[in-house]
């Protein structure tokens, strides 16, 4: 049962009889009148449990893409249903999560609908959704508050209508894909610009044009053709690329909102502009973990490597295998990746690097490009990755891609107060430690890429292209 403002108004109206006859009995009688009117109204209200509800939601939607949840309500009661219907969704899915009641829970007004249904009729209400976090989101119940004919009081019930939506990774880094594909085509020798890859795979013969490297002239073919003919090379194809997402505790770290840092560049090299650290402090439902940035990088690299003709598989691992996407290629690769990685969440466990290396070695036996998307946190790397990285670099080309902390970049550049300078000193010290770790990893034969969340995906793609061009895959 629930009351409305009209019940309050009715109680306020009691001032009239109280003014006429100011004795306590008047108030008592008026209280009984209010209670009786509300009880009558509740008794005359349609039953919210006699409403047939069906919820239709998209099975999966990309993060940041508007979607909507549809409710079909059928009034099966013999009475007219005047009701307020709430289609409840978790905070990261609703459209207006900022409408908060002073420190209290989020009130999503977009999920509330008024319906007025004669007996036997149906209505369809739509709730706009805007998922801001990746993963599987389960809808809450559908709450129906059915008002009585007087509008004083209502019957209320929360019906457990199933509904779930799978929020796929956003793949915001796909905007970097065209430029990288252009570079790939240049390497292939198909583009107009004469920038050939140093690939080792023989591609074709063609006529010499001014500017070609004289060393690539095929003298035997030139002798047969009378024209000067050069050999072209193209990068190797059908290489194996294994992308490993570390979903251990370090991937759960919130590393600041990447959008806030303008430009950025090559951390820990460049200097990021000091930006106000407002970011997502007020919106804890927004992503911003290290894993999100790693996922973006993994998606871009996979898309690029697939177009380059390599075979891609993606693993998510902490102490066990959380997800594995392999065998898909071409147009089926990205949907498979999005579906497979949608539900990968960081776990608060230390990553088992020995197990991870064994997993990689069982997945690929031939030489492959192994990309480890993790962190350069000195403590975690020294105890976890460093002792076992040799086992990988012996047979594979290893790239350690780490997401730098945008907050740290901001801290390091801040000189406004003496307190900020101490913060900057601590951040500088952390940078030094990380670059020392990176140097050790490079000594062991691994490539190291560290970048701010927004820059990691293009930087990793560039590293991949550079390795491919150098024939090191």
């Amino acid at each position: 049962m629930a009351l409305t403002w009209r019940a309050v108004a009715l109680a306020v109206l009691g001032v009239v009889p109280v003014a006429v006859l100011p004795v306590p009995g008047t108030v008592l009688v008026w209280a009984i009148v209010v209670v009786a009117a509300c009880a009558l109204d509740v008794a005359l209200a349609a039953s919210p449990r006699a409403v047939a509800v069906r919820r239709a939601v998209p099975g999966s939607v990309r993060r940041g893409t508007p979607a909507r949840s549809e409710l079909v309500l059928t009034n099966e009661a013999p009475r007219r249903l005047r009701a307020l219907v709430r289609d409840a969704w978790p905070p990261s899915v609703v459209v207006d999560p900022r409408s908060r009641t002073a420190g209290g829970p989020v009130v999503a007004h977009s999920g509330r609908h008024r319906v007025d249904l004669p007996p036997g009729e149906s209505a369809r209400v739509r709730t706009p959704l805007l998922p801001t976090r990746r993963g599987e989101r389960t809808a809450g119940p559908v709450s129906i508050r059915a008002y009585g004919p007087l509008g004083l009081a209502a019957r209320q019930a929360s019906l457990p209508v199933p509904g779930r939506i799978r929020v796929l990774p956003e793949f915001a880094s796909r905007r970097h894909l065209p430029s990288r594909l252009a570079r790939l085509r240049e390497m292939d020798g198909r583009a107009a610009v004469q920038v050939r890859g140093e690939g080792t795979e023989f591609d074709s013969l063609r006529e010499y044009v001014v500017g070609d490297d004289v060393r690539s002239i095929d003298w035997r073919a030139t002798a047969r053709r009378r024209d000067v003919v050069v050999r072209t090379w193209r990068p190797e194809r059908d290489r194996r690329v294994v992308v490993v997402l570390d979903t251990g505790r370090t991937s759960a770290a919130r590393i600041g909102d990447a959008d806030v840092v303008p430009g950025g560049g090559d951390a820990p090299g460049g200097t990021a502009d000091p930006a106000p650290a407002t970011a997502d402090a007020e919106a804890p439902t927004v992503g911003g973990t290290r894993l999100e940035a790693s996922l973006e990088a993994a998606l871009l690299l996979s898309a690029l490597a697939d177009r380059a003709g390599d075979r891609v598989q993606v693993l998510a691992y902490d102490r066990t295998l959380r997800a594995r996407v392999a065998g898909a290629s071409g147009p089926r690769l990205l949907p498979a990746l999005a579906e497979g990685l949608a539900t990968v969440e960081p776990t608060l466990l230390e990553t088992d690097w020995t197990g991870l290396v064994s997993q990689v070695r069982t997945q690929v036996t031939q030489r492959a490009l192994v990309v480890l998307l993790t962190t350069l946190d000195p403590a975690a790397v020294e105890t976890g990755l460093l002792p076992v990285v040799d086992r990988l670099t012996r047979t594979h080309q290893v790239v350690v891609a780490a997401v730098a902390d945008a907050d740290l970049a901001r801290l390091r550049a801040d000189r406004t107060t003496s307190t900020a300078v101490y913060d900057a000193a601590a951040a500088a010290r952390a940078d030094l430690e990380r670059s020392a770790v990176a140097a050790v990893l490079r000594q062991r034969g691994a490539e190291v890429v560290e970048a701010l969340p927004d820059d990691l995906a293009p930087r990793l793609a560039d590293t991949y292209l550079a390795l491919k061009a150098a024939g090191r895959l």
Partner: protein, 401 residues
Amino acid sequence: MTTTAPAPSPTVTGDGTTARSRAAGRWRRARWTVLVLSALALTVLVMAVSRPATSTVPYAPDNARPDGARAVAEVLADQGVDVRYVTTVADALGAAGPGSTLLVTPAPYLLGPQADALAGTEADLVVAGADQLLVTAASGDVLERFPATNPPTDPVHPGCDVPAAVAAGTVVLSGGLAARDGVDPDVTLCWPTRDGAVLASVRDGDRDVTLVDDASFLRNDTVLDEGDAALALHLLGTHTELVWLVQDPLDTTTTPGSGPGPTGSMLPPWAGVVGLWALLVVVVAAVWRARRLGPLVAEPLPVVVRASESTRGRARLYRRARSRGHAAAGLRASTAERVARRLGLPRSADPTTLTDAVARATARPAHEVAALLYGPPPTDEAQLTELAHRLDTLESEVHRS
């Protein structure tokens, strides 16, 4: 891949409950609360019933503590006197009539009109421990009162022919009453002390007005001293009806039948009713706002704390320890590392090599660069901030070159 077609879920009608199962569920959830609350209520009820009704108001006829007057009231009741306990002047005047006794115990908050109203009663008036205001009003302006300065020590003989005083004999009470115009035929003073008389009896028409300057003859702890008990019983037991007034401090009533009760007496008479009505509105509004439209929907979050918190913690340690040396070393090493990478020097390059390379790149004197990168630690925070700014400048110069 963005949005797949809406997938309809099965149609749901109701939540699988019936009125009976919901009632059972509510009972299951609430039963412990109900049990505890009813046990508490029962305990309070038993305690309230089992204990006799006593008050803690001084001079009240139902107060059994030393400052009460239950002993006198009980004895009077046993002797067939109907003791009526009132707390407002209006009630007292309403209850007291001809052929009854009105006892006024000490009333420091009595107002002038109230004193006049009490003086005008047709009942025999016994005023115990009254102040100047009431003494003047009750005696018809023939008596005055001086506060007692000397506490009584020795028993005093009555020295008058008032029956109660004669029956009481000697008492140890303080006195301060005196006739205003010397000797008055209607006024009898008893128990003269150095400050004045203890008891004054004024004959006013066909009723007696008796003033006793010291009300302690009524108190449970002193009622048995000397002739106190006899005095009290004689004064109060004259008639079969006794109205016992212990004034409530909030009482402002003067005439019988005015005002609802003692507590509302300072407020307008309709205030209580309006308060009740406001309570009704507040309760209805609370119920209106309290019901939430369905339960909260929770969402698990991986982690809430930022990763940079550990770095901030380290910065705070530096600051608290005033470790400017460590902070400066960190800033310098970081700058040196970036500058060295920019200039293509290996990580293992020694300070002299780096200093020379930077000096060449920025066209600064080598000793200045050395002082900046390897100089002594700053001595205060201003120097630390300045060092940070100068390192930034150096770095930007190297990057520009």
